[in-house]
Structures are given as C-alpha cells and as structure tokens.
Subunit: 398 residues, 2 copies
C-alpha cells in the first residue's frame, strides 16, 4: 500500500513539477473542446472569465462579407460564444456535413488557437485547429484500422539546384515487404506551401491508405517535393532555421523548378522500387503546383501518362525568361501527339482562377487536346484539393 501511495505521489509530483504537465493538473482548461455530438453538431468551449467577447471563426460557418482594399469580398464566418457563471464560454454549431474543418477563437479581437485542442495544422504562416466530423468523404481523411503506408521525410541531391533538399514520400502498405515495382504520383503544393503541405493539409497518407484499402486506388508511391527552389526544406526544417513562412517566395514560378524536376524523378527512380516509365508516372498539383504540373508535363512531353491540374494557375509571368516557357503551344502539341491516359482539370465555381482555367480549356479545345474536366462548388480552398485528390487517385494506373 505504501508503495502504491508513493507511486501516486510520484506521478503527482511528476505532474506538479513539470511546467507543462502542471498546467494539465491545475489549469482550469480541463474542458472538452471541440465536442463532436452524435447529431453532427459541435460545441466549442474555452475558459476565459476575463474576456469581454469571444468568437469562433472557421470554414464551417457561413462566409461573411468583408471590406478589403479591393472592395467587398467573402471572409470567414464568425459566431459568438456565450459565457456561463464559471467563466466557460461555449458555442454549439448546427449540424455539420462530414468534413475536415478548421477554426480559431477570437478573444477580444485576438485570434488564437483552442487551448483544449492540440490538433493544429499550419497553412503558410497561420496555424489553426482542426477536427474531422462524420464519415463518407470525411472518412477518407481519418486514420482507420486498415494497412498503413510509410511516410518518410527524406533528403535528396539536386545537382541542377546544387542543393540537398527535403521531400516527403508515401510508400504504400506492403511496399517494404514486396518485390513489386510501384507506380508513382508526384503531388505538388501551392504558393506558400512546402513538402509538409499535402501530408498535413491534404491528409495524403490517410486518403491513400483508405482508398487502397477499399480497392479504389492502386498501391502507389506518392512523392511530395518542395516547389520553392530557394528553400532546401520547409521553414523550420531546413538550414534557414525557424523563420516565418511567406506566401510569396522568389523564383517559385520562373521555370527553375520545372527545369530541374528531373532531379526529383531521377532520385525517386534510383532509390525506390518503381516502374520507371511513362505509364506509371502521374503528376498533379494545386494552384501553383497545378501550374508546375502543366509546365513540367509539357516540357518533358513524354514522361507522364496522368496529369492533374487542381485549381491550377496556368500562364507564366510575361517577364519569365526561362526557356521552359518557350513555345508553350508547341510543347503542348508534342505532349498531345505523344499521347497520355488522362489530363484531368478540376476547379471550383467560385475559384478566382476559374476564368484562367476556362481560357486554358478553350485553348485545349482549339488544339483538340483531350482532357477531363470536373467543376466543383467552392473556391480556392484545401477542402476542394482534398476532394480532388480522392477523385484523381482512383483514375491512375488502371
């Protein structure tokens, strides 16, 4: 009995003496937030007796019109929490559709994370809390009791950039035990992203594990490189140390990445058990990554049988001088003549790149260059890019 008591005291001390753990014991923030109810509604809670106004803002709330220097635009919705007599504020949503959502609190005008929810995702320099509700599409984003692939952060040499660079690579369940060769999807991030974007915001590992387990996608390797050629790795993960990530980064859309993309393919094909031919190479990307995908796939016009443009930016800056951008029409024609299995274009109806994509489709139509087109609701948001991945991956390598 004495020893048990000692052990309890031991643990108690452990809790008290560690400044973090101490919070866990004495902090009044021992409340549940978010609480996801069976009916699909969600309650947010925060203990802040001294606050005057607390709001929750997130992508599950109706958008609000906001004034910007460019006029009125849609901004993220907000809802007010109410305070109880103990100083705990709360707000319960209506029933939400299945989805991965993000949110922040706004405490007296200060935007902050939820101290009761340690699940956070960084998007460029912003960190927000996340939660998943429901099944169906959202079920694809959950970790399920299915075989899991391996996710590695690995460094490779880029002779073209004269750099050692970091990428994220998903190898499917069974890869290590198998002697098979696997097909590869190169999956590219948008402006402000890096090699952490698709795995964190895109839930790539969960999506692929679940699609493969359901027999809806072929086992494949997914390579998520860093498309910012001035970075060796994501902020905080490279030799630049911990600095605040920026949305606009030099040299991201000037052709350098596209011109050196073979460094990544060569690395993957010499270091993984892959089928190194066109029929087993796919490339896709979102926004800037869609731009990279479009230009890489026509600059190397016989390398990829599957091409995916998710909410893609299309045309280079007029001042771009890299030879990658010479003869765009001619290289597209060569790509068409060489043939491919799938050229897949997806965009949301309210995406600011909608018109640019419409023009691009008109160009392809005029050339007779075949493509599949998916038009979704919504705009330039991760919710769409996750959905596009779940739609695109099943079409590959069939």
């Amino acid at each position: 009995m004495k020893k048990i008591l000692q052990l309890s005291i031991l643990f108690f001390c452990l809790i008290v003496r560690s400044s973090h753990a101490q919070e866990a014991l004495f902090s009044p923030q021992q409340i549940t937030s978010p609480e996801i109810h069976d009916d699909g509604s969600v309650t947010f809670r925060i203990f802040a007796p001294g606050a005057a106004v607390i709001q929750v803002t997130g992508d599950f709330l109706p958008t609000l019109e906001m004034d910007t220097p460019m006029g009125k635009m849609d901004g993220p919705g907000k809802a007010e929490l109410t305070k109880d007599d103990k100083g705990v504020w709360s707000y319960t949503t209506a029933q939400l559709s299945p989805e991965l959502y993000n949110y922040s609190f706004i405490v007296d005008d200060l935007k902050t994370t939820d101290p009761n929810n340690p699940f956070l995702i960084r998007d460029v320099a912003s960190v927000t809390n996340v939660f998943i509700i429901g099944e169906g599409q959202a079920g694809l984003y959950r970790v399920k009791d299915v075989p899991h692939g391996t996710v590695a952060r690995r460094w490779y040499d880029s002779p073209g950039l004269d750099m050692n660079r970091r990428l994220t690579i998903y190898t499917p369940p069974g890869y290590e035990q198998s002697k098979d060769k696997y097909p590869v999807l190169y999956l590219l991030h948008g402006a402000g992203g890096d090699e952490e974007a698709w795995i964190a915001l895109g839930r790539t590992a969960q999506v692929m594990d679940n699609l493969i387990a359901e027999g809806k996608a072929k086992p494949m390797i997914v390579v998520m490189p860093n498309g910012n050629v001035i970075q060796d790795a994501a902020p905080g993960e490279g030799k630049g140390g911990m600095y605040k990530p920026a949305f606009m980064i030099p040299k991201t859309m000037d052709g350098t990445y596209e011109a050196n993309f073979m460094d990544i393919i060569n690395f993957v094909e010499s270091n993984y058990r892959v089928k190194a031919d066109k029929s087993t190479r796919a490339i896709a990307g979102l926004s800037m990554g869609g731009y990279h995908t479009m230009h890489i796939s026509r600059f190397y016009p016989n390398k990829f049988d599957y091409i995916g443009l998710f909410s893609a930016a299309i045309m280079p800056r007029e001042d771009a001088t890299n030879s990658v951008y010479n003869d765009i029409d001619g290289t597209l024609k060569t790509q068409m003549d060489n043939g491919y299995q799938l050229y897949w274009i997806a965009i949301g109806k309210t995406d600011f790149l909608y018109d640019a994509n419409k023009e691009y489709r008109a160009k392809l139509d005029a050339m007779g260059m075949p493509y599949e087109y998916v038009e979704s609701e919504g705009g330039h948001i991760w919710r769409n890019w996750r959905i596009y991945l779940t739609q695109f991956a099943p079409l590959l390598f069939n």
Copy 2:
C-alpha cells in the same frame, strides 16, 4: 506589363480570397515574434490593443514559487509585456544562454500561443511555441547544412499485442545507399509521450545528424516506438482519432510493454539492414522510458550492450503482477554476469526522482553492478533529456 499586373492581381486575389492567406495580408499581426537579437536577448511581440495585461511565460525565465495542494512549489516564470501606442505589446529578455526554449503568452489570464510564431511543439496535451538561440549545445538542435538522415513513420505488427502499431525511425545519412549493417538505439519516451515525443521535443534527427557529421557519434538507426500499449499510435495518428492526450494512460507501467518489446526488435531486425547482435543494440529512455529501459534490459538480460536511464522511474507498482517484474534482483545479476559495455544513469539534482535513483545506485553498488553516473543541474525536463541524448549517443558502439 498588363500580364504582370494581372499576375499581381492574381496573387492579390489569391491572398484575399483564401481565408488563411487573407489573414497574412490584412491581419495587423505582421510583426516579428520572437525576434532573436545578436546579443542573445529575445523580444516577444503581440498585437492586442484590447488586452489589459499580457505576460510571457517560458522556461528561460526565473521560476516562480506557486501555491499548490502539496504546498509551495516552483512554477514557470512570467514576465509582463508593455503596450505601445499602436496596441503592440512587447517584452525583451536579458541575454539568454544557447538553448531550445519554449514559451506561451498569457493574455488576460488566458494562456495562448504566439500568433506570429508557427513553430509549436506538443508535450502531452499542451502546445507551446519554441525557438532556438545560439550555438554550442543549442547548435546540435538546429538543422545544419550537413548530410541528413531519413525520418519515417512506419507501422509494424505486434503479434504479442495483436495490433498494428506506429513507430518513428531515424536512419542515418547514407543508410539507403550503403550496403553496411548498422547498429540500433531504441529510444523510449516518458509518461504522456508517444512515438512523436523524441523526434519533436528531443530533436533526435537534428542531434543525430549533427553528432554524426561532427564525427562524435557512429552512424546508427534510432527507433522511437510508442510505449503506451493501449495505443496503436500517437493521439491523432491512430484509429482512436483526434482526442486529447492524457498524461496517465492505463497499462503503461504494468509490464505489458516490456514483455512484448521483442516484437519491436524483431520488426527492426527483419526490416532494416542492422547488425542483430548485443554489441550493436542500445536502449535508453526518459522517465517512464527509463523505467522501461531498466526492466527490458534485465528481462532480456543478454540483448543490450548499452543501456541509458535518463531521469528514470525505477521500481514497479506494488500491485504489478506481470512476470516481467519477478525476481528483479536475480535478473539484474544475470544482466551483470552476462556483461555489457555501458550502463549509463543520468539525473538532475532537483529531479523528483533523484532519491529513487540514489536508492537504485545504492542497490547496484551493493551488487557490484557497474554503471556510469552523470548528475546534472535541473529537474525532470526536456532540456535535460536532450542534453543526455547528446552525451549518451557518442558513447555507443565504439
């Protein structure tokens, strides 16, 4: 010119229409925090015109005495920020010694993260901001321009636990290209931790990359398993979904983990190019992981040539019935008789487990069981465990 303008507008729209990126442009939080000055002092800043009192709390501030149910104890230090006429609060520290530090803001009694610093580490359920200052010991925690190992999150079958489980594994630079077999360090987390603890809080990848590059540690594989046998993976990474991590978890110190540890060794030795013998196996852990290390290494008394107890808990609960805990003295004697290269014990002078370690050392002394002992400043904190790793790893496999 027109196209450049369009592109600028394009990017502007991209910024405005994405709810996250929008914050990046319009939010007044476009300030630098923390700002690390050349003299080693640090300025913290936060924009919060409506707040009445803002403090910073972190492990670089002198500890404060606090009242607890167990009497007065040391708590984390706090310092007050001052507000300028624009609503930006700031505080500049004295010169700090080189170290990885953590901090939070306390805004009108609400503990929160720094909205200008996206670098966060989760410790159990608490998320705090981090920064690194200086070189020397702290330089070992930085990503430097040296060859980098690979960090993979991989799942393995544990027949003993009848579970598929997740671990983090570091393979050293050159592992994939080499045909050599490598030695292995099994590195175990403490209570409330999981397979993410050592890689995030312990900076294991950076420490190993840097020690190996400096020629101070042999290239080795480092395996960081999950020591909570009821979990398949860290909270948010397993089939239990996103739930709030807890400090005390059932079955963590009841012998189950130790009794099934061979599942992990067998997985590693059949799936990696390792030297599978005692002379190339090391095991170490912090707190509960030190406890696991002590019991695993004597329960399998001829498996490890290198044993590291970092601030270790030592003796099992009196009600523990697992046969792992039968004949502790006898198995220790067997371990001693079998021989080993290094039995390394480290603890801080103010660690609440100091006396338990002193008693344990007395027991080893009485048995004539050799060990090396390192007594450091400080208590039961990650700062010490990172230091112990940088001291222990160079002693391995020589």
